[in-house]
């Protein structure tokens, strides 16, 4: 099934995290995100509106204009109620489906949400889409498909491609069959390539016990992993970046995968291994791939076509043909009719296993990923049972910021005799009786992965990742969790009504929360209609200019408003805008920056001490009520302030401005007094408290010495590797600017007048929604200049008169007036 949000105006995400999960998430995220980047109020017409109903607080859900807290088990009820509302109040003809969607009871709040949603969907027939998530059963997907068809999405927003036409068995069913066969002694030799079922198989299958019954078990993988540990033989695979191969994208577009490097170690590629297993004489993966695609009749038979595909990365026009697709309503009715929703209670909770950055565990052994905080909880190097504040209170679970770490009660979860122990983490906006646990942690193997967090798979009994009737008991133990951002940081003061005396009575965590809440206009947001009423909404929170600039405006020339005024700069001057409206908070910018700029992962212990090194971080803020807050994601790189507070305080004149407006660092000159970081109001400077890059000229541990060969290869040769005792921070990817200048010079162009778009920092390049725009603010025609004059443009901490070159575009929400 293909989804296409291009022409969609109203999206309903039912327990789906379509922006960061699923094979086509990047496309969907871009289609959604770019529609939200509106530069004039008139453009708000074009904004997509997102409704979400979900148990976990997903990235997608955090971007929703309206969000319904719902247990995963209630998904079917919500969708049935929606179908019924569409049929009865909006006149959408459901035909034979109608009787099957009867009888779903919702509470008043959900009913109101569904009624408004139905109205909105029906009003946008042909521009409406329902996306059912991966944790919903097949029947719900079928119903969503049928409803989309009824809403006119077929062939437009919703299409299908038939592929080879073979019937697909779900991965869970297929794994169950294998387990049964193993238990029955039918499997003599089992070969597993690049999978890790000992870890990933749901606990109810008892796959590991079944595996022991096979005579010979062969596991091929990049890492030995849990399965390799239980196998008779482990074959080291080459990494996919070391291998030739081929792949198909979500829409069927084929791609020939080229290696970036020869295998560093002696691993074999999957293609070679499979070829050998199949009895091929040829062992070169390149030749095998070439033979496949260049065989007579294949699209790349022609050498030119082959080379073209290698250059382009994809094989032209190889996407599968799509068609509207159809499901018989009677079949859908038969499938969905008997499915009843489950409403969990506090004695029979629901556990939702979601995918985080580590996915199903395949990325857990990557320190970059482990150090990347999860978008909503901001936990890193740890996972925990997330639960709503109300549930935590009801079960008297203590979980909150203690000093520098998050101290939490450890609980035991049990379903059908399967149990696991995990720490807890209170997160706003979760469904009241759902527990959420991120998958991929609790690995038994892996240099990095071993011993981090808890594995959720032993508790699971199905492929959806949702368990009902979960019992939670407190163990009495507590554990510290590693989080990069204090939980519950809410600028804007929802607790204002509390008196001082009352405040002091509150337990420590609550008191701190209240103390932290001045009116801090760090991020600015308005609904589309509020924007219409108040064109200056993004400037609310600014201090009047005459208070910011010394002297009265008459005595001092007012701050020039670039670029509408005459240019005040010379040459090219770099600047950036970050659109909070299109930013979805996926964290890709952060990981792109890590890769580009040789930023070390410092490990759990150091993150707990507050020494993570990320040059760009995505701050997450909640406002409003803890149960239904609004979340905002705010990426924060160095602001490259024109009047940077870090510069005058540097004792060795190490950090200063270059002629193009970059606030630069000369690492060789830095002696590490940390004064610049203290004086940075955005706290974007990062200090090498220890030899995090293991390049020490004093001492390098033998462990790291051994790994230096590969560690060196991992690093970007264009970027200095920083040693201990040195301050570092975002450089606007100065190496890319220099590269672009060299390119321009080689091409005979003016290196001091690069074309707009010639330089893209890593964060902007990786951003799926293009929320980050970088360019020359002295060029009035550049994209960034045009964004800087937008009504939504504002500077964070404008009152300090530090003139940040990175400015933000205030977030605009596209709310449905009925639900506000």
């Amino acid at each position: 099934m293909h989804l296409d949000l291009t022409d969609v105006k109203v999206v309903f995400s039912l327990d789906s995290d379509f922006m960061v999960s699923g094979p086509d998430h990047l496309t969907l995220a871009r289609q959604f995100g770019t529609s939200r980047a509106v530069n004039t109020h008139e453009d708000t017409e074009k904004m997509k509106r997102l409704y979400a109903a979900e148990a976990a607080l997903t990235v997608t859900g955090s971007n929703a204009d309206h969000r319904l807290r719902m247990a995963s088990g209630q998904g079917v009820d919500v969708l049935k109620a929606l179908a019924k509302a569409l049929a009865t109040t909006q006149g959408v003809d459901l035909g034979e489906l109608a009787p099957a969607v009867e009888g779903a009871a919702l509470d008043a709040n959900a009913a109101k949400f569904v009624a408004s949603l139905a109205k909105d969907l029906a009003a946008h027939k042909g521009q409406a889409l329902i996306i059912a998530g991966e944790r919903q059963p097949a029947a719900v997907h079928a119903l969503a498909f049928a409803l989309n068809a009824a809403l006119g999405a077929s062939g437009g927003a919703q299409k299908v491609s038939m592929g080879d036409g073979a019937a697909r068995v779900s991965m869970f069913d297929s794994l169950s069959q294998l387990t049964q066969a193993l238990n029955a002694g039918q499997v003599d030799t089992l070969v597993m390539v690049d999978v890790n079922p000992v870890y990933t198989a749901p606990g109810s299958l008892k796959f590991q016990d079944a595996l022991a019954k096979a005579k010979t078990v062969i596991h091929a993988g990049v890492w030995a992993e849990e399965t390799g540990d239980k196998a008779t033989w482990h074959l080291p695979l080459a990494h996919f970046l070391e291998s030739w191969g081929d792949a198909r994208a979500w829409n069927g577009t084929a791609s020939v995968v080229q290696p970036l490097i020869l295998p560093l170690f002696t691993g074999r590629s999957i293609v070679t291994l499979m070829g050998q297993l199949a009895g091929e004489a040829e062992t070169s993966d390149r030749k095998l791939v070439e033979a496949t695609w260049r065989a007579a009749g294949q699209p790349l038979a022609d050498l030119k076509a082959w080379r073209r595909s290698l250059h382009d990365g994809v094989i032209k026009d190889s996407a599968r043909a799509t068609q509207p697709g159809e499901l018989k309503r009677a079949d859908v009715a038969a499938a969905v009719g008997p499915v009843k929703g489950v409403t969990p209670t506090k004695d029979a909770l629901e556990l939702v296993a979601v995918h985080g950055h580590a996915k199903d565990g395949r990325l857990t052994n990557v320190s970059w990923i482990m150090e990347l905080p999860e978008s909503m909880s901001k936990l890193c190097w740890d996972n925990a049972v997330l639960l709503s504040p109300a549930l935590a209170k009801e079960l008297s679970i203590e979980s909150g910021v203690r000093k520098n770490a998050y101290a939490s009660d450890v609980v035991e979860l049990s379903v059908d005799g399967r149990t696991l122990k995990a720490p807890t983490f209170v997160l706003p906006a979760l469904a009241p009786t759902s527990l959420v646990l991120v998958q991929g942690y609790g690995r038994q193997q892996g240099e990095v992965a071993k011993g981090i967090g808890v594995a959720v798979t032993p508790l699971l009994s199905n492929g959806l990742g949702v368990e009902q009737k979960v019992k939670l008991t407190k163990t009495g133990a507590t554990q510290e969790l590693c989080s990069t951002q204090d939980h519950f940081s809410v600028p804007g003061n929802p607790f204002k009504q509390l008196t001082f005396a009352k405040m002091m009575d509150e337990p420590q965590g609550a008191r701190e929360r209240m103390l932290g809440l001045g009116d801090r206009p760090l991020f600015r947001t308005a609904s589309a209609s509020q924007w219409g009423k108040d064109k200056e909404f993004a400037q609310k929170g600014n201090v009047p200019e005459e208070l910011v600039v010394l002297g009265t405006p008459k005595q001092q020339p007012a701050k020039p408003k670039q670029p509408t005024d005459a240019p005040i700069y010379e040459g090219q001057q770099w600047g950036m805008t970050i659109d909070l409206s299109s930013c979805i908070g996926c964290n890709i910018c952060a990981i792109a920056c890590v890769a580009e700029n040789n930023i070390p992962a410092v490990g759990r212990e150091q993150v707990m001490l507050g020494r993570e090194m990320h040059w760009i971080r995505v701050d997450r803020y909640f406002t409003g009520d803890v149960d239904t807050p609004t979340a905002v994601h705010q990426p924060v790189p160095c602001m490259h302030c024109e009047s940077a507070p870090c510069e005058p305080v540097c004792v060795v004149a190490d950090t200063g401005h270059d002629e193009e407006g970059l606030n630069s660092m000369a690492y060789n000159r830095c002696i590490g007094t940390r004064y610049c970081a203290n004086n940075c109001p955005f706290k974007v400077r990062r200090y090498n408290y220890l030899d995090f890059t293991h390049t020490g000229n004093v001492y390098v541990e033998p462990y790291w010495k051994e790994r230096m060969t590969t560690l060196k290869l991992q690093r970007n040769p264009d970027v200095t590797v920083r040693y201990r005792g040195v301050m570092e921070k975002c450089t606007y990817c100065t190496q890319r600017i220099e590269e672009a200048k060299i390119e321009a010079k080689r091409a005979g162009h003016d290196r001091k007048a690069l074309k707009d778009g010639a330089v893209t920092p890593a964060c902007a390049q990786a951003c799926p929604t293009q929320a980050i725009t970088f360019g020359n603010i002295n060029d009035l025609e550049s994209r960034v200049s045009k964004l800087k004059v937008s009504e939504r443009n504002y500077e964070m901490l404008q009152e300090l008169n530090i003139r940040p070159r990175t400015s933000y575009l205030a977030r605009v929400r596209n709310e449905n007036g009925e639900l506000v």
Partner: protein
């Protein structure tokens, strides 16, 4: 000995010793040295400590010096560990770039100020009572500045590059940043050390000569002889000496105000709420004198007991110093209150939050330790009974030392740990810093005890100058 009724007790009655508080004034000015000592007695009293043979150093003293030496050696090891591993051995983190490293620096620099105040400003104001305690206080200044210097030199990330701090001509054509308050610090602290050292040494010269002349041990003769620089006590020597001393006092006097002002600029020049405060220079100077006087008390009260100097450092001196402590403590308390007022009056949400967070945030305990030790306890000195009690003075001086260390902790850490962007808030927990602090104490006390053992702790020549006998018209009382 109970104090007798003042009608009968003349202040220079040899029976009235230094540890007895007198009604003030009794009859004329109270003598600064009590116990009816002659000039020779003073020399004997002071020199006997220095002249005791090395092998006959009292055991408690040996123990003290060994203990301080052990801490000093530990400090050496700690510096090696720091060099080997990096500043990550501390608990400093990303919002909290400065913690104990700078706290210790400001603490030690502040302590130094009392020495300079006593030796220079009180000298220029002809406060003759200073002569009994100035040598001690000046030595304290120098060793405290050394301890401070070691903190600031070690707080950098690449300590082997610290020479970048100095404006040394180099092939790169690079100068330090003269706009940075830290660079001003480099100059301020170095100037301070140089001037204090010269001032101290100049004052010591006549006393070194006394020791040289008295000793019969060869190495001592050479040691004190070279330090005395040929002092013969001629009229010309004295004339030059007095002039030099006055000039150096004039040099030092502004340093009392300037050095800690510049240290306060490290904070005040930044934009950080809680640091960016115009009240800092006077507030820091008052705090420095406050802490310095407390440290002088801490060091002097046991020393006058153990070294038998009660008649030279009398209760009158202790009381005077306590008055300064009371004054500066109250000034500091006023500054604390004024910071809150300004934060509230400014209407700046960030500023307001910083101060509420200081008092009621996660570091509330540090703030209230500071307030109780610095503002509340010194108020006891309004009562003469406390001012003149050696025990009370000693206990209170310890409180003030603790309070002033916490003041710097509160300023440095609580402002940093929660600033403008809520997302960056964190909490600082010290890791191995306590060894850093103990190490600087080791350095300080090791040098200080060596000083006590080998250098005259009382400025003999000066003290003699303020004894009644020195007055050419003195004929005893009753004229």
């Amino acid at each position: 000995m109970e104090p007798t009724a003042h009608s009968t007790a003349l202040p220079d009655d040899p029976k009235i010793r230094g540890d007895i508080p007198l009604e003030d004034p009794v009859a004329g000015r109270e003598p600064l040295v009590r116990g009816g000592h002659s000039f020779h007695d003073i020399t004997e009293l002071v020199c006997r400590v220095n002249e005791a043979p090395v092998m006959k150093t009292p055991r408690p003293f040996m123990f003290g010096i060994a203990l301080a030496g052990a801490f000093f050696a530990m400090f050496g090891g700690y510096i090696g560990y720091l060099y080997w591993t990096g500043p990550g051995i501390w608990g400093n983190n990303n919002p909290v770039g400065w913690a104990w490293d700078i706290v210790n620096f400001v603490f030690w620099v502040g302590i130094g100020h009392a020495g300079t105040l006593i030796s220079a400003i009180l000298y220029l104001f002809r406060q003759k009572w200073r002569t009994s305690i100035n040598r001690y206080a000046e030595a304290m200044t120098i060793f405290a500045v050394l301890a401070a210097g070691s903190c600031v030199a070690l707080h950098t990330g690449r300590i082997w590059m610290d020479y970048y701090l100095f404006p040394l001509p180099n092939q790169m054509g690079l100068w330090p940043n003269f706009r940075s308050p830290l660079e001003w610090d480099v100059f301020a602290v170095n100037t301070y050390l140089t001037v204090s050292l010269l001032f101290w040494f100049t004052g010591l010269v006549p006393d070194f000569a006394t020791l040289r002349d008295r000793t019969k041990v060869r190495w001592r003769q050479l040691f004190y002889g070279s330090l005395a620089m040929g002092w013969r006590g001629s009229m010309r020597h004295w004339e030059v000496y007095e002039k030099a001393y006055q000039i150096l006092a004039a040099f030092s006097a502004p340093l009392v105000l300037s050095v800690h002002t510049i240290v306060s600029f490290d904070f005040a020049v930044s934009q950080l709420p809680g640091w960016h405060t115009t009240i800092f220079p006077p507030y820091f100077v008052a705090g420095a004198i406050f802490s310095g006087f407390a440290m002088v008390q801490t060091l002097m009260l046991p020393a006058r007991e153990w070294l038998g100097l009660k008649d030279i450092v009398t209760v009158k001196h202790i009381e005077n110093m306590n008055k300064v402590i009371l004054l500066t403590g109250s000034l500091v308390g006023y500054a604390y209150a004024m910071e809150f007022f300004v934060a509230a009056y400014s209407g700046n949400a960030y500023e307001g939050f910083t101060f509420i967070n200081r008092a009621f945030g996660p570091y509330w305990w540090a703030y209230w330790i500071m307030v109780s030790c610095n503002v509340i306890t010194p108020q006891l000195f309004w009562f003469r009974k406390f001012r003149t009690s050696v025990t009370a003075s000693f206990i209170l001086s310890i409180f003030v030392n603790i309070g002033m260390w916490f003041e710097r902790f509160v300023i440095t850490v609580t402002s940093l740990h929660r600033d403008a962007l809520v997302s960056s808030w964190d909490y600082f927990i010290p890791q191995t810093e306590v060894f850093f602090l103990l190490g600087t104490f080791g350095l300080f006390f090791f040098l200080f005890l060596l000083f006590v053992r080998f250098f005259p702790v009382i400025a003999m020549s000066e003290v003699k100058g303020v004894m009644p006998q020195a007055n050419p018209h003195w004929e005893g009382y009753g004229h």
